[in-house]
Amino acid sequence: MSAHSHAQVATGDAVLSVRDLAVRFDSGRNVIHAVNGVSFDLEAGGALGLVGESGSGKSVTSLAILRLLPRPTARIAAGEIWFGGRDLIRLSDREMRRLRGKEISLVPQDPMSGLNPVLTIGEQVAETIQAHEDVRRGEARRRAAELLGAVGIPRPGDQLGRYPHQFSGGMRQRVMIAIALALRPALLIADEPTTALDVTVQAQVLELLHQLTVERGTAILLISHDLGIMARMTRQITVMYAGHVVESAPTVEIFARPSHPYTAGLLRSIPRIADVGQPLTPIAGSPPELDRLPRGCPFAPRCAWALEVCWREMPPLAPVEAALAAGAPQSGPGAHLLACHNPVAPGEVEAGKPLRPGFRPAPQPPEYGLVTEETA
């Protein structure tokens, strides 16, 4: 087992520290507030899951880290992204190109979009190696074959000359993983890596990702909406809603003691094979439009716990008192952070609403929705 990595460690033992990241999209007259002050840390060799539904900003956050946001519509409006002692936002395009693939790599949702259809698999894996390391073609091909073998592609030597369309979806995703891990990056970003795959193939690919990242000491930032995959693959979970981090904690803690009404709602919304017959208690309503984000907590309109203050002020992300009392740290991997004025009490998760005599969620004030967040 070799756990060395090329990147130096940034602050503490975090390989990646995102601070107050804000991303805006300009769409004609409107400004889309896709990411609104996101902060999280990923420890070296760790496994962090970004959970959220469509429009939560999880994929945009990952594209911002890779500096692959579509130009000129999207821009990083604020924040810092610390990786290996550098703020990625300040790097030149050239420096970023050198880093991408070598120190940070990506496994996309659709492997076909990451592979060039007119180049053979061997050329593509070898190309990645040669782009960053000074090796001869023969040597690059030999290493390519070795990598394909490592990701479980049978007879790798014979497969080098084949084209992407000659592989199945699962095999293509294995090739993407081979390319992503070719240069032993310190960080691997996997954006819904198994969404397009069948259940049994998904199990193979997850197993492979898990095994290889642990073996090589690669930290993984996993983006998914599937809480089952999160439970299997991650040690930390950051829950996003409307471009905000609403809760962040060790995976076990998130599942055992969800404190944000949205996190609790998500956990109640998934059917479980174990407890059948239990009706689901979905979250009412739908996520907000990101071009008209009102001031206050974006979840307030769907929240059974809403207080008056929720409609006016977005609460800061702060340590959960009970977790501190139980010995959790203020910050870093073990911390339980929450952005909520009125957290869910332990017994209220199952009920899906506050169990407090006389409590009624604060109604929407008439001026709500008229005041939008400042355009950065």
Binding site: E53, V199, T200, A203, H225, L227, F255, S269, I273
Partner: protein, 345 residues
């Protein structure tokens, strides 16, 4: 009733008997030659009772979508019959077909693709009524208003175009359209798969509510086993065009007898880190084979973990297993249904 279909308590509302759908495989662009057949659905028998939900699970290429489409008559079957209230329902029989068709409706995965982008939601919902000459224009407008309310939308949504609706709202419109002709059976093909978790739960609850209120029967096709378990009274598992196991939902999860079912269940990630940490998984090798050339004998034998444990019995590679009775209403098409127990963690 064929052996493959376990008996159900009520009289079968819908009965599928030995249904086959074979698609030609052609080669050549100018002169198209037929070079083979894809046996997308290959001898499926299934029953559905009133107000019952049968879940149909399987991976891509298992034929579950083709089966659903053949049942509602969107694809003509190659052979076999679909009986609705005991009467044959055949896509080739014109007049009677039209009279029966409204009883079977389909809801699709992607409402954006199944709703006409140039039509307002109200027009889409009214279309099946118009096509079937049901009601006057005013009556149809009234019915659309009622249907919108039934699926949890408001009358103003009738004037919206699909792109002006959210994913959940579009799926509600798709449901309203299916309900317009008061069907007895709805075939829901991955109807909640594309929706976000919180919205998906809303639609699942709506489907269950509608079933109670309208006595609907569902053929619920999905790849998510937890969702299928939540929705279904009985479940049929498909692999390469055939049903390999069929049973009551609780029974299937408690006592799966086909090795494929066992591996499917073990592959599903469970949203509980404590369970995930101690779970032993059966990771199947390779991909599902091409349905155009299914393996001989048992179609699963090339990936079967049980066969490997048993030392690779020759029988699996040469003899196609018939559905074996496990218990009342539970069948599995495997030569070794008694050996599977206790071997999978």
């Amino acid at each position: 009733m064929t052996e493959a279909s376990p008996s159900v308590t009520g009289p079968a509302l819908l009965e599928v008997r030995d249904l086959r759908v074979h698609f030609p495989v052609t080669r050549g662009t100018v002169v198209r030659r037929r070079v083979g057949w894809v046996h997308a659905v290959d001898g499926v028998s299934l029953e559905l009772a009133t107000a019952e939900t049968v879940g149909l699970v399987g991976e891509s290429g298992s034929g579950k979508t083709t089966l659903g489409r053949a049942i509602v008559g969107l694809i003509p079957p190659t052979s076999g019959t679909v009986l609705f209230r005991g009467r044959p329902f055949d896509a080739k029989v014109g007049a009677q077909d039209r009279a029966e068709r409204p009883h079977l409706q389909m809801v699709f995965q992607d409402p954006m693709a199944s709703l006409d982008p140039k039509w307002r939601a109200g027009a889409s919902i009214a279309e099946p009524l118009r096509v079937n000459h049901i009601g006057t224009r005013a009556e149809r407008r009234e019915r659309v208003r009622d249907l919108l309310e039934v699926v949890g939308l408001s009358p103003r949504h009738a004037r919206r175009y699909p792109h002006e609706l959210s994913g959940g709202q579009r799926q509600r419109v798709g449901l309203a359209r299916a309900l317009a002709v008061s069907p007895a059976v709805i075939v829901a093909d991955e109807a909640v798969s594309a929706l976000d978790v919180s919205i998906r739960a809303q639609i699942i609850n709506l489907l269950q509510q509608l079933q109670r209120d309208l006595n609907l029967s569902y053929l619920f096709i999905a790849h998510d086993l937890a969702v299928v378990r939540h929705m279904s009274d009985r479940i049929a598992v498909m692999y390469l065009g055939q049903i390999v196991e069929q049973s009551g939902a609780a029974d299937l999860y408690r006592d799966p007898r086909h090795p494929y079912t066992v591996s499917l269940l073990s592959a599903v990630p469970v949203p509980d880190p404590a369970v995930e940490a101690r779970r032993k998984r059966i990771i199947l090798p390779g991909d599902p084979p091409n349905p155009a050339s299914p393996p001989p004998g048992c179609r699963f034998h090339t990936r079967c973990w049980l066969r490997e444990q048993l030392g690779g019995p020759e029988r699996c590679a040469v003899e196609e297993p018939a559905p074996q009775r496990v218990s009342a209403g539970h069948t599995a098409a495997c030569h070794f249904i008694h050996e599977v127990q206790g071997r999978a963690a």
